[in-house]
Symmetry: C2
Subunit: 111 residues, 2 copies
Amino acid sequence: MSLPTPGKPVRGSKSGNHLMALFDLLGRSWSMGIIWRLHEGSCTFRVLQERCESISPTTLNKRLKELTQAFLIERTVDGYALTNKGKDIFLLLKPLESWAKDWAKNFKTDE
Amino acid sequence: MSLPTPGKPVRGSKSGNHLMALFDLLGRSWSMGIIWRLHEGSCTFRVLQERCESISPTTLNKRLKELTQAFLIERTVDGYALTNKGKDIFLLLKPLESWAKDWAKNFKTDE
DNA sequence: AGCTTTGCTATCAATAACGTAGCAAAAAAA
DNA sequence: TTTTTTTGCTACGTTATTGATAGCAAAGCT
């Protein structure tokens, strides 16, 4: 799968609407998780893999390339790191955390 | 694939961290797009399919079931609709829109 | 009753993700 | 400098997800 690029057809928008392009990128397995885990600090491929708990190297590598091409991740002396844009996205995702905590309550009494 | 449920193993967390469960749910193809489009107003299956521009009925149906089970969508006399929780998520996703607009500029001069 | 719209399901093809092994390059140790 | 570790992947075969298209049963109109 190629990089979802604003202006080119993406999932959800034939004309490449920028938001749909972003949804296409972030809506791939592990994308948001990788950004979240990387915010804990820059790290090597293998450490990141451990932080993710169960991601395969194939997929991790693929996502890293995509997110790098999308300007969200870069490689530094410390390994993989969030760029400023990557940190932006993290901040936008952050509110989901406390919301998720509340949302999770709905499942607790079930089943 | 079954519904990512907080407390049960999900992508990114063997113990079922609530945020990772949410990422697992939203990080499936079309999930965020569906929520986004539904915010335009409740509608029928086929209209929603059109709004999404190119989603297959198979996938749409699957996502609708998942999002319904996850309390984000419900069925009303007007067809499919966002629940209050669904609207919450929409509001959390909303800031991504203007950010994406800015982000898109990075691609314009490329290629 | 006949025609349309709606909400799907069935089926098969294509693509993405996984799991595991392991290799080549770089870094660290001896 | 040789050996050992660590690192960042790639290869490969399997499973899971997504997609495309056709079309049917139920409900609603006329």
